[in-house]
Symmetry: C2
């Protein structure tokens, strides 16, 4: 039978890069491509303990739950958010299947085909995919190491009348950037004046390398949730473990209520076993001490990789040392196309993500994203050697 | 700030019934309204054992997984499906957050605004919501206790040129019906001739009360997945426990591949902790013996409730004894509006779902759905007494 698929599928650009990276899954190729946390730091014992408590709670733990998510976990997360100056009630929060689902649900309740969304340049690929699948028009705002250039933001808002601005202001994916306070405040002010909703995606905010620095979320700058014009999402994937697929979103109750209606028809609710496990984990495990441990190790791995990058001595290689998060954004000499380099690199046995995939438009081809959290020292050395060989071979054939 | 929500929200009819039922949540009201399994039969020890095995597998159990779902569970489910004459490979299967997500994802990849979907009369409310949110036009096909009336199906296909037919052929929600073999074969033949995709929703198929009877799935009648024109979905929610939110969908690989692309942007993947737990449960726990136990108890509860219904002696009360599943579909005397009865019933302390909510169009107001799986004998007696009192009060005020 001939299938008559939705035209939404046209929104998904098939990507040669994705096809190449698929080949590396499950193979022996060293991957700097994924955004995987280091498994060796997963708090397996604490998870096991927490699950025991769920089971001790009896059989009702296995029943259907609320679409908005397990309430004790929401209450616990509200306290955690309050410690970061985000003051919300459990009714202003919903638990989701990772923060990815928060992006998807907000898009479903807020965006119609042809609506305009502004994003950073570059930005998170899987958010672009969500927006594209919904038929949104996406424009990128010129951005530097301090965040979006406010003049360009203002100009693009005036020009396009967007409904939504999507940002990852703290240790962004892919660029590893952190926005300055001035840019955060500026974004908020400009968007409020134009009634443009802000979606603040914060999966990496906890992975901070410099002690003492403070990067207040845009949500916290916007004050109480009601009418504040900011939707904030985060996740346990980077601080506890991804397999729980548990994220949360906070926003004006009016927005949460609409997202919950869509979530109900999307999947009724996310796994409450996982939500209950995470609740007990938060109650009995020092998550902040654990995050401190991750910060230390990831910071080390980042410095280890940037040192190796320096040793490469490729002329024209540029990067900014990340202040947190999971990625180094590398600019290659202008004549080098990272997608072509990737093909050779995979033959050598190492993978990365060409930066071009992270652009809504006019990709910059001489860029790449390197993940430093998932590989140990030895593997990182080996991978960088392979990368060096790939580059040599690229330059010889150029 | 004034929010500019998507017009998709218009698709969600706000329902007075849903508002009333919300009031009953967490209250002391006896509920025949939900579709909840009986908690006392949840295999808590087996779940605990299975989770231990996940933990024993080490920290990699907590890492990101495949969008399509944990492969060993897919393999295990393929064997289980094969025992029911549904022969698929793991590539023709995807794990979802409950079968609800399978309905949503198929709708996202297959349906555009204005496309036509045919459904049973009555049918599952939360499927109607998914279709409505996508802007589909829904028409119901006249149905009786043997399933859709094939003449009406054929006429409506000719008239509307639908893309999809959605059916729950085995122990349907809400009507508790089971389609005859003739109707199953007829549906398949007619839909194939017209190139209409069939979505077969089978959450209740395992909850069968009559031994020896055999209700082959439409998918099994359609032969191998490739090109068979049937998408089949089921779930662990009714046989193991809902909190895992783990369902699966099988179909032509072309369809699974497109659904996986949408799932990736919807939530990357569902909880792999839950999927791994269910895998170990399937390997070390006699699920079929457990299902036999559920069948026995649910059958008892069904007969207990239908006996109480008989004792009500309401003139004009009609129902068909379900051969499986979780619901009794009750037809009240024609002058009685179940939505009005519900208001009084809730005051008396008992709830049910008025049948009118389960219709795509032209609801039949003198119907109600009763769930018999969640309440024990004592509670069921009490609830039926309250229901009797509500009816008395209704008739007095009529």
């Amino acid at each position: 039978m001939k299938y008559r698929f939705s035209k939404s599928l046209d929104g998904f650009s098939s990507s040669a890069v994705r096809e190449i990276l698929k080949l590396t899954q499950g193979s022996s190729i060293i991957s700097f491509a994924g955004g995987l946390p280091a498994e060796e730091f997963f708090p397996l014992d604490a998870v096991s303990e927490a699950f025991k408590r769920v089971i001790e709670g009896g059989k009702s733990a296995l029943q259907y739950g609320l679409t908005e998510g397990y309430k004790p976990l929401r209450e616990s997360l509200c306290r955690r958010m309050a410690s970061k100056n985000m003051h919300v009630t459990p009714d202003e929060m919903m638990l989701t299947t990772g923060s990815q689902q928060a992006i998807d649900l907000l898009t479903r309740v807020y965006i119609d085909e042809g609506d305009i969304i502004l994003v950073e340049r570059p930005t998170y690929l899987a958010a672009l995919q969500v927006f594209q699948a919904k038929g949104a028009k996406i424009y990128s705002v010129e951005s530097d190491n301090d965040g979006m250039i406010l003049e360009d933001l203002q100009a693009k808002i005036a020009q396009h009348n967007p409904k939504l601005v999507y940002v990852i202001p703290t240790f962004s994916n892919p660029a590893g950037r952190v926005w300055s306070l001035e840019r955060r405040q500026g974004l908020l002010k400009i968007c409020r004046a134009a009634e443009v909703l802000i979606l603040e995606d914060d999966p990496y905010g906890e992975i901070q390398f410099k002690e003492g620095e403070n990067y207040p979320s845009i949500f916290s700058l916007a004050g109480k949730a009601e009418g504040n014009g900011v939707v904030y999402t985060s996740t346990f994937s980077k601080t506890v473990a991804p397999a729980f697929r548990t994220g949360w979103v906070i926003a004006d109750q009016e927005i949460i209520r609409q997202m919950a209606r869509f979530k109900q028809s999307a999947d009724l609710h996310s796994s409450t076993i996982d939500q209950q496990t995470l609740y007990h984990l938060l109650e009995h495990f020092d998550l902040d001490a654990h995050i401190a441990l991750i910060r230390e190790h990831y910071g080390e791995r980042m410095r280890f990789m940037t040192n190796l990058l320096s040793e490469l001595n490729w002329p024209g290689l540029k990067w900014e040392e990340p202040k947190g998060g999971m990625f180094i954004w590398v600019e290659l000499p202008e004549q080098i196309k990272a997608e072509d380099l990737l093909k050779i690199a995979v033959q050598e046995g190492v993978a990365f993500v060409p930066g071009s995939t992270f652009y809504a438009e006019n990709p910059q081809y001489n860029t790449m994203r390197l993940n430093y959290t998932h590989t140990d020292r030895e593997t990182t050395i080996l991978g960088m050697q392979k990368l060096a060989k790939a580059m040599e071979s690229y330059l010889q054939n150029a």
